[in-house]
């Protein structure tokens, strides 16, 4: 990584569209794009031994997924609420709270790889493979056999400060990560590395940047400062505006 800051082509600027109902006055949004600076280590190929169906599917080790022009996928970006404090939630999210969060065992892979859930929601775990899976969501102490073409529902009752692992004990190579918070201000970066969190109460908030291959994304430079030792950055959300962090470069050495 050379010493001068090489500007990389600015990501596509998407126009922030406000939901009609939320009064734009005291809610703001944040968005940005996370890219890898340099080429990260190629994750080790998966050892697939079980079930011919999985072997044929040849699932890929997606612990580090780098998309078009180095976009880093599956980075968890979320508002960090210090222990014991509460944050008020935009009414816009009330309707979404009832919908179940789906997690699909598909092609001996978990879709999505990075799951977001709120305390109170229901996690609906589907299995659309012809082989049986047993999904082990450690944070919910849930570990149940899911036969092919059926599903299991579990109430999301306990959360944690950091994302935790989801595994399948029949196919130990399958892995996903789930972040459970009791507020909706969480996001994961998509294929193009972009993330967006809408309707955040205006004011200074601390945002956590975390990725399974790097843990806390430490000392990452971004607009208005850098993340600290624990991958957090104090950012100010202005009412009615979208704070665009643009491209956030994560050093390749941070991801192993």
């Amino acid at each position: 990584m050379n010493n001068t800051f090489k500007a990389i082509a600015v990501g596509a600027i998407c126009v922030a569209t406000f939901a009609a109902t939320s009064n734009a006055a005291d809610w703001g949004s944040i968005k940005g794009r996370i890219v890898v600076d340099g080429t990260p280590a190629k994750p080790a190929p998966l050892v697939v031994t079980k079930d011919q169906f999985c072997i044929d599917k040849m699932p890929v080790n997606n612990s580090i997924v780098v998309g078009k022009d180095n976009a880093l996928e599956n980075v968890f970006v979320y508002l960090r609420v210090p222990a014991g404090q509460k944050i008020d939630i935009n009414p816009e999210y009330a309707s979404k709270e009832a919908e179940p969060v789906t997690l699909d065992n598909n092609g001996c892979e978990f879709h999505p790889h990075a799951v977001l859930a709120r305390i109170g929601q229901t996690l609906d775990i589907k299995n659309s493979d012809p082989v049986g899976h047993n999904t082990n969501v450690n944070v919910l102490s849930f570990n149940q056999v899911i036969p092919s073409n059926s599903d299991a529902k579990v109430k999301v009752s306990t959360g944690g400060a950091l994302p935790t692992e989801i595994a399948c004990n029949i196919h130990p190579f399958m892995k996903a990560w789930i972040l459970v918070q009791d507020h909706p201000y969480t996001a994961t970066t998509g294929e193009d590395g972009t993330f967006e969190i809408k309707d955040i109460p205006a004011g200074k908030h601390e945002f956590q940047f975390w990725h399974e291959a790097g843990g806390y994304l430490k000392n990452v430079k971004l607009k208005g400062g850098a993340t600290d030792k624990k991958g957090r950055a104090e950012l100010n959300i202005e009412a009615g505006k979208t704070l665009d962090l643009g491209d956030i470069k994560v050093p390749a050495s941070a991801l192993k």
Partner: protein, 310 residues
């Protein structure tokens, strides 16, 4: 020549030194042996452990399990009404799979009773409220012995939810002209009630949560029976009203609110009492409240849709 075994001075000194060294080695190994492997990490130091302990001792009880405070004096009454917040789902009819001519009301299968809400007033029926463990029981709430009627008609349990005390008898009637075999789960009672017949069931032991009552011949028939060791329970009626009289006053009480489709663990029902801030709800549908003697506490309980598992 007899050989006299005598230690020469040199050898004596030699023995002395080696003997001493040997003793030293043994003592060192002995001492080091019992100090064990050096464990890592800090150890609590007495000073501020004591400081913290004094502070913690004065703190309030933790979690919803209120510490058993001294029992208060006097009695009070708690009553109120359960109201559904939002528009309630319409109940589909029971899927009658057998003896349709008996089990339907003028050709129509009766609506299910998983969540009975009177339209308009939105009152919720069949919500069970009971005091979890009473430190003292008023005479009016001592276990009763009168009989409770429990009839079945059109393959329906006419009383969907019933509460009774240990010692009471349930007269299980069958006013259909087909057999029902009433099975009270968890109590071991599972008998065939012939058409037009009646069989009494004497309640022996109480339960933490209402027992489900089913009929093996008509599997869609369901009812719930709550046996308690004291009279501190109530089932909300058609307009959602309930009343429990003479509960112990002046001490923290914990009521369990239960509904057959309650979403909280153990079918608890988590509601809200907007106009009674001193009432605290736990996420298992347990209500913590303290009543003043001779006080009649009126609670308007608003229950959101997400509190039900529908």
């Amino acid at each position: 020549m007899e050989y006299r075994w005598r230690l020469t001075n040199k050898m004596k000194r030699l023995f002395g030194i080696s003997g001493f060294l040997w003793m030293l080695a043994v003592s060192l190994s002995g001492l080091s042996g019992c100090s064990g492997r050096a464990d890592m990490g800090p150890v609590a130091d007495a000073a501020n452990v004591k400081a913290i302990r004094d502070v913690l001792a004065t703190s309030k009880g933790a979690g919803s399990e209120q510490a058993a405070a001294a029992t208060g004096t006097g009695w009070a009454t708690i009553k109120g009404q359960f109201v559904f917040d939002g528009d309630p789902p319409t109940m589909p009819p029971y899927n009658v799979t057998k003896e349709a001519e008996i089990c339907t009301i003028n050709g129509q299968a009766p609506p299910q009773e998983m969540l009975v809400v009177t339209p308009g007033s939105k009152a919720i029926k069949n919500v069970v409220v009971f005091l979890r463990d009473a430190s003292r029981v008023n005479d009016s709430a001592k276990p009763k012995t009168d009989r409770v009627e429990f009839d079945q008609k059109h393959c329906l349990f006419l009383t969907h939810v019933v509460g009774l005390t240990v010692g009471q008898a349930l007269d299980i009637k069958n006013s259909d002209n087909t057999g029902h075999n009433t099975n009270i789960l968890g109590s071991g009672f599972n008998q065939l009630i012939p058409a037009g017949g009646a069989i009494p069931y004497k309640v022996q032991k109480d339960a933490q949560v209402p027992n489900k009552v089913t009929c093996s011949i008509h599997p869609w028939m369901t009812a719930y029976m709550l046996p308690r060791k004291d009279g501190y329970f109530a089932v909300s009626d058609a307009d959602g009203k309930f009343e429990i009289a003479n509960v112990p006053a002046g001490e923290p009480l914990e009521f369990q609110v239960w509904h057959e489709s309650g979403a909280a663990p153990g079918n608890g029902l988590v509601g809200t009492t907007p106009d009674a801030p001193d009432v605290k709800w736990s996420n298992r549908g347990r209500v913590a409240v303290t009543l003043k003697p001779d006080d009649v506490k009126e609670l308007k309980v608003v229950v959101p849709a997400k509190a039900f598992r529908l």
